[in-house]
Symmetry: D2
Subunit: 430 residues, 4 copies
């Protein structure tokens, strides 16, 4: 048996094992929710949990089963349009801001849809390996990565839904994880020499098109803060009038602040003069030693300016993080909230997990970028304007999903992700 | 025992019997719905069914139990603000367009809230009559009328929700009521002499403040169509380019038409070149002999102009309808859709029930109008601008709820009620 | 010579004399303005003065010269669309909110356009009488009335433009008219018996279609305040927190107040804690004895409710005013601002002139209303929704233009006209 | 005399000579305009020409005269707020979208304001050199560069005003410059090796803060088109359905296209099936050999994708252009429109002048960027989000004003500048 064939068979073996695990976790994340919570869309940027359940199935149906499974029968003729997110090449779609108007299909019907798609997928994966060529295997892998992205979105959308309604219910019964205070007083800088470095995905594993190709960049010497900015540090910015001092803000940020009435991160709310924090375990007092999160790019940028620093460029972040172990407070910890600093030791602490770290870099194609072929080319490439890069994953990112080269991206006003920041400074600025 | 006391006791007896009937019917109307259907708000004008369930309870809690039941305990401290509709005097309230963002309280919790309020109300009604003075008895009666209004709104909101989403599911399993074709070919005019007539509520029964006081109006001689305009008649207007001829429309109506993209009544939709109609029993072909409904004031007005007629003034309508029996295709028929004309015989057929009939009259206070005292003064009076009067009830109006003097009112763009029209003409215009 | 012919000749004689007078006055009203002032549109509801100059000419060109003057040559092929206000039947038109984007034609070119149209009109009027039939003579008369309406609009639009920009320049060098204090302390009520009265235009003179036909109404006995509400009286409402008390306002008014940030009439502005008033003669301190103006329908309505009264119905107003002499502080006084009460004596003082008086009546067709024939039918009829009637003219209404039956109408949020109010109460309410 | 002192005196000498030249040119650019054209604001992004005249004076008054000229008297106490563009640190300001509401000050008054400021400035420049330190001299130089930027904006704003109103008048009497056809058939690519290059301003001359500091970048090998894209080439994109093919567009661009109804560049308009072009000399047929302009970043990006290429990164552009002579079709040519290609010869033709060239690069700070000190720090730095860089100047950029390192920036939807594009490709993409 040729080496390539053995590799592909191994790959199929892996997908056969992985597929049910990933799919099951999406459903488990919905388990604590009431039917009511699965239906509501709390803002146009967010989607109902029910929609996530359906759309992730639509992805497999559209890009795997319909083109590649002989005899596949559509579960429902209206679903392709109902659950298409943004693929122009995949035909009509229901308007995004009206996803929450869909009381039907019901949650039970969506679960039946998932089961139907799973049936097709498992049949395909169990079938003759010859039917699954390398491209198709890649698309299945992409579908699983896609579903992992939606696991994170599902949790942040649910957090927005529950945390911005008056009753602010917890997502789940209080988690058992004890909350240890920070083991170290966060602080300090890690220095990097820069020079001509390499950036982008390399190697055999899965990566998105936007991480490729690996290419060179020249970096001036720079420093990154050893820890993400904490709530306590951010509170000083708030207390110093940070939200009322125009000179600290980008002009568009200053306007966004006024338009949305920002005076603190999302999910902070005052009770009797003290800040409370809404978490997926419900509201509780702000913990000063936890990384701040739910700030927009504009807030992160203003904080950095107030502090006499700046946000890292994504090439700085990636170069620095390549040396760190790919571990941290990720979805598997079950904590679902950023944690205080641990005992430290690494050059960069909490590089992975806890909070996505806003970068100074606009989201743009790498030199030599090629989108995925066909309709999947819309996955990443068409979003490459007006968005900023975030790096490092969060407390609700699946561990398997993350890499040092991973590029997340959101508009500069977005606050509902677990988005925080780490300061940077250059030898010039320092 | 004095006469007044006996009357009041009789009245209490009546309320004791009535209260559970009215309250139960609201819940029965929700029975065919899935939890998902109870949560969604399909447009800012509409409310989730769950919200109707809660708000009608809030009304009794706010205006009866809290002021008058000693020891009444609030079910939940946040509910007074969550379920206040528009009463400035009752304190804070959740923004109307965000009623659909509330996944909590759940449907089950709202049902518990209803039970809690019912407990208080039944205890009060079962208690010493002396505790319930005439004013309080009136407020309870008002609360029941209020709940009946919300029964109709609940059904029209649900119809909007289900009928404007892609799957267009039926509200219920197909009703058993057979659909008889029209017994008569609708047509003809009924003439009225006019003169100095009386208008407004008279007598002992319940009425809203906006129906009072009874007062005199002078009417020129006029004619009313014997039947409401049918779908078949309206279809001629559509086919004649009625939606594209500016000269038929009020200027604001012409603009509303363009802004909303109207080309037919709400709930009409084309399939293969033929009009389908969404009903609470699901979609089916348009029936030409049924009264047209789900038209705005502007469409009703344009149709009338196209026909060389006009809409009735509310005083004409009321004067004409006073002679008709208070009966028709109302909620109790179970049909939940306008019916073809019956055998006729009355001067005005289908005056009550089937469709609300848009009047030419802006909603305004009668001479000598006094709003209900206190906070309940906001019930009707503050809406007396920019709205038009509709008369006669619809196929989803509870029979008990209706009177010839009853004034319903909506903005001229509203289409989601069962709103149709009946033509009028004056001796001058004819 | 037959009587009818003699009458028509007399009528033509009158039009020949009148036409240049009316046209010249429009231009005279622009004389104090700089070119810059003639171009700017300060809000979508207002038009640049230059546009008024052109549009009034367009009216004669479109409805008189093009259909009836043989050989008439268009001044410019683009002007018919540029200066059409809202006549759908007259073809395309430039969007209203963009009237201020037109730097061209220049003011000088618009003046040449006026001269061109005047040439045609004077030639027609000087020509053979036989060419001008009764319908055409009526259209010319309508064109002059139309121009008089635009004289008032031109002044209120200019007042809005000048009074809402930071420098608040005066429209003209201070007028010479001395400002006498009120000769009487305004107050008191005039009583009317009501009964079956007649309403609407009667007689031979010009009237708009919306004033016709004369018809009967039944009025309950009522009282009208002898004087319009003064600034001093309105100031008490302001000082009593009138703009912060929801119970005084219609719901739509309460929302409009918040949306626009109203806390006093338009053109009031605070300086060092005292109210200043912008007038066409520039800013000066508020004079308490002058009628309040530049209030919306909602503010007028709220004031009346605060005072325990209400706004007059238009039929009450007209019935009461029919007995008053058609005289007052009108455009010809040159004051261009409401004046304090005179020596009184009439039952209603200041019924004509000073300020338009908001009525409680929605603008609606009279029984038997017929719009002007043809395209001119759009003049009044299509606006009969969502507007309220104002009566009595203002300090910038040409005297010739006014009648007791005259119906002005604006949306309930409009404040830039000289709109004030007079209180009413019924025998029931009193 | 020390070298530094001699240099500064030379610098002052230069400023003394330069100041009146720059100031006079702003006024000369207004000479062909009517008063009406100077007042109107045709969209929120644009300003009235009158405002440019005043604001450029405000800049000198605010940053030079008020802080540094003893005894300077404000021309008018309201002007500092009226003519502040966006400097939060300079106090209140009139809202940008309402600049066109200001009929006052008049044009004549604004000219007087200019003269007043010029008086102060000339007095200062003529005064003792000791009074003008290096920082102040720099601020004066900045004020002149600022005025040059507004000269270009004034012309593009005027072009938008005149070209988007129905009469489309020419800005000036037809220019005398003959229009020669292209001397070469544009085409071909210039190759660059890349490597570690330097980027940013170097040397002694004036530069904006955003061009600094000079720093290193690593470039992969790349190619730039020798010529900007022409109208003829762009027309092929239009004819190929470029505006209707989602796969060619960034997602935000696709939405912008739909929202604004784009189907061709700004200032193209169809007449009898052929494209006409509005130029500052008035409308004329599209010339296929001229560089295309008035396209947004999104259109430029879509065109490049359609062509299988991409936009240049700003570092590529600057590196390539550093070798080109700083000359071209700039404001001084008097053409005020892009010209066809000349005889060629340079590696990059038309690098400077003709059209600003959209880059793929989001506008961001260079490593080590420091904003100008004090209030002038708002000049460039706060705009560094959501904007894209354009390079190379246009046919209305003053020659003195331009450099290879010059970074212009606009939002990706902006089309009213003379913005075109030049294609790029990498060795990887080629």
């Amino acid at each position: 048996m040729a080496q390539a064939t053995r590799e592909r068979l191994g790959d199929l073996e892996r997908l056969r094992a992985l597929y049910p695990l990933v799919r099951r976790r999406t459903e488990e994340l919905c388990a604590p929710l009431r039917v009511e919570d699965l239906v509501v869309q709390s803002m146009p940027d967010a989607s109902p949990a029910k929609w996530h359940l359906a759309h992730t199935s639509w992805f497999f149906e559209t890009f795997v089963l319909r083109p590649a499974l002989a005899g596949y029968r559509l579960f429902h003729p209206a679903y392709p349009a109902l659950f298409n997110s943004y693929y122009e090449s995949a035909g009509e779609r229901h308007p995004r801001p009206e996803r929450g108007h869909l009381s039907r299909p019901t949650v039970a019907e969506v679960r039946a849809y998932r089961a139907h798609v799973d049936g097709g997928m498992l049949a395909m994966l169990a079938g003759e390996a010859a039917r699954i060529d390398a491209q198709l295997a890649f698309t299945i892998e992409l579908g699983l990565n896609h579903e992992e992205q939606h696991q994170e979105l599902l949790l942040t959308d649910v957090k927005h839904l529950l945390g911005t309604q008056p009753l602010r219910p917890a997502y789940r019964e209080a988690a058992v994880t004890a909350r240890a205070p920070a083991a170290t007083a966060p602080g300090g800088w890690a220095s990097f020499d820069g020079g001509l470095v390499e950036l982008g995905h390399a190697g055999a594993g899965f990566a998105f098109d936007n991480e490729c190709p690996r290419h060179r960049r020249y970096l001036e010497p720079f420093e990154l803060a050893r820890y993400p900015v904490t709530c306590g540090e951010y509170l000083e910015f708030v207390a110093d009038g940070g939200y009322a001092r125009a000179e600290l803000w980008l002009s568009d940020g200053w306007d966004a602040r006024a338009a949305h009435g920002w005076s603190a991160p999302l999910h902070w709310f005052p009770v009797d003069g003290a800040w409370q924090l809404y978490t997926l375990d419900g509201p509780r007092p702000l913990a000063l030693d936890e990384p701040v999160c739910h700030v927009s790019f504009y807030e992160a940028d203003a904080y950095a300016r107030w502090k006499g620093a700046r946000l890292p460029r994504e090439e700085e972040w990636e170069h620095a993080a390549e040396g760190e172990p790919l571990a941290g407070n990720l979805l598997e910890s079950g904590r679902m909230h950023p944690a205080p600093a641990g005992p430290g030791g690494a050059r960069l602490d909490q590089a992975f997990g806890d909070v996505w770290e806003w970068c100074a870099s606009a989201y743009a194609p790498y030199p030599g970028f090629r989108p995925f072929p066909g309709g999947l080319g819309e996955y990443n490439g068409k979003w490459m304007s007006n968005r900023y890069v975030l790096r490092g994953g969060s407390c609700v990112t699946p561990a398997r999903h993350l890499r040092a080269s991973y590029r997340n991206f959101f508009g500069p006003e977005a606050r509902w992700q677990f988005s925080g920041l780490r300061l940077a400074r250059g030898s010039v600025e320092a």
